[in-house]
């Protein structure tokens, strides 16, 4: 049975080749640095991926981004207005001049985002964002009142509102723009 023997030999050779190939691929596969501590404590689990947005949700995210981009910048600018007032000039008029356009922006943004048409799945997200804009607007309002009456309690209240607002914005970002803040 020379034909049968050849067939068997070919099969064995093919199996050996497949095993060697699999072993080679396993060894050559790129891998990340694995630390001893990782090996003992952290069996790597796949990170949860955010669900893909539907077309309607994408439209909402795109519309909101236009507001978000400027809101983020002005939120930081508002903190800086406070820092500058406290650490540099203590000039209430200059402080007011810096806050006034921010107060208007956040007031308008609250109205604008509330009026956006969001799919039902995004209603909580929209609510968080509206809430954030309202908090920022109120915080700016408190800062402006401080420039009139000098009651520093108002600055403390404004700070607490700003912290809550920035947390709300992060919650929205986590849904719509995950990874907007990268390792730095």
């Amino acid at each position: 049975m020379p034909g049968g023997r050849s067939l068997l030999l070919a099969g064995v050779v093919a199996a050996l080749a497949a095993t060697a190939g699999a072993a080679w691929l396993h060894e050559m596969r790129p891998r990340s640095i694995m630390q001893p501590a990782d090996q003992t404590v952290s069996a790597r689990t796949e990170k949860p991926q955010p669900p893909a947005l539907t077309a309607d949700e994408e439209r909402f995210a795109t519309a909101l981004w236009a507001v978000h981009r400027e809101a983020t910048r002005l939120a930081v600018a508002m903190s800086f207005a406070g820092i500058s007032y406290q650490t540099e000039d203590r000039d209430a008029r200059a402080f007011a001049r810096r806050i006034e356009p921010m107060a208007k922006f956040f007031h308008d943004a609250e109205i604008q985002v509330r009026a956006m048409s969001a799919p039902p799945s995004m209603s909580t997200t929209q609510e968080h964002y509206v809430n954030a804009m309202a908090l920022y607007a109120n915080a700016a309002g408190e800062m402006l009142k401080f420039t009139e009456d000098g009651n520093s309690q108002r600055l403390g209240d404004a700070h607490r509102m700003d912290v809550l607002a920035s947390e709300d914005m992060l919650r929205v970002g986590e849904v719509l723009w995950p990874g907007q803040y990268k390792p730095h």
Binding site: F80, H159, P183
Partner: protein, 332 residues
């Protein structure tokens, strides 16, 4: 005769100076504290492309060179805990993850007060916080340290504000596109982080630093402007194993300092980063006592300073770097 009198005069002066030096110099030296130091892993960024962290270590498929055959690395976010006498100092404070910021690709996060408790410290006992820079993953959780005085460079604050007011929208943006920004000048300074910095200022618990400053005898802030961000700063700490220099992201990588490779290029002038490396070599006498913020080899034998390590909350790691005489070990 006059020569002899002059010689005696000189001798008397020299002797007097020596006596003064003995009287005042020695006690002054003795007053300089020797500090203890630990390292806390606030969180870990997982599977970051090596080339995004260190351009010279970019993965080249099929390469057998050790510099180019690792595709991804896990980057710890390290926080320094320094105890000098009764003073408890943090260098950097990590970041806060609650029901948001879970999609940053990070793992092993735990609240800083809980991590401090593992070391036997109370967050309310932290007296000073020196932030290497004000990026979101290094200057968070400040409100959880109610009694700590914050030290931040004026240069850092000025540069962020400059960027925020720049006419070109991409340059002034905190987040220039939905995928996030990388290296533009205002990138990485999120509203929550800067609001917490403002909170410290508002409560009168912030020191705006201009350049170099000694915050305790022998514990010294050094400016490292543009070594990562505009107002980056280092912290020199005297310990029983010699001086340590904490570098935040000016010293992102221990291997980078050792091999003279740039790392974590954000708002970085690479020349200034190398000068910051040099500063550590000069202060400590080498590279081994430079404390890096994101070294992938942290908490292993390959980064010797951090090898005395253990696993703590949520899989995050800690290391006992050095103990002052009489200080008890906090390693379980």
């Amino acid at each position: 005769m006059r020569k002899r009198a002059l010689r005696i005069h000189l001798f008397v002066w020299t002797a007097a100076m020596a006596v003064l030096a003995c009287l005042f110099g020695a006690p002054a030296q003795a007053q300089q504290p020797v500090c203890s130091a630990w390292l806390i892993e606030s969180s870990r960024f997982m599977n970051v492309p090596f080339g995004a962290f260190m351009p010279d270590r970019a993965f080249v498929p099929g390469s057998t060179k050790p510099e180019n055959n690792i595709p991804t690395v896990d980057l710890p976010v390290n926080v320094g805990v320094i105890k000098c006498g009764n003073e408890l100092i943090l260098y950097d404070t990590g970041w806060k993850q609650q029901d948001y910021l879970k999609m940053t690709g990070s793992d092993h996060w735990a609240p800083l007060p809980d991590q401090l408790k593992v070391l036997g410290f109370n967050a309310a006992d932290v007296t000073k916080v020196v932030i290497g820079h004000a990026h979101w993953d290094h200057a968070g959780q400040l409100s959880d340290l109610p009694n700590a005085v914050l030290y931040v460079q004026r240069e850092e604050l000025k540069a962020i504000e400059w960027a925020l007011n720049y006419p070109e929208p991409h340059i002034r943006a905190i987040n220039s596109d939905p995928g996030g920004c990388n290296r533009t000048p205002a990138c990485g300074y999120m509203p929550l982080t800067i609001e917490e910095v403002y909170g410290k200022v508002l409560k009168g618990k912030a020191v705006i630093v201009d350049g170099e400053m000694e915050i305790l005898p022998g514990v010294r802030i050094h400016p490292a402007f543009r070594a990562h961000t505009a107002g980056s700063q280092l912290l020199e700490v005297p310990t029983s194993i010699g001086k340590l220099v904490f570098g935040s992201d000016a010293f992102s990588s221990y291997e980078g300092i050792r091999d003279w490779m740039t790392a974590n290029v954000q708002q970085t002038d690479t020349v200034q980063q190398f000068l910051a490396y040099e500063k550590c070599y000069k202060i400590t006498g080498g590279y081994n006592n430079c404390v890096a913020a994101h070294e992938p080899l942290s908490y292993t034998d390959k980064y010797p300073l951090t090898k005395n390590s253990w696993v703590a909350l949520n899989g995050g790691r800690m290391a006992e770097i050095t103990l002052a005489p009489g200080e008890k070990s906090r390693k379980p």
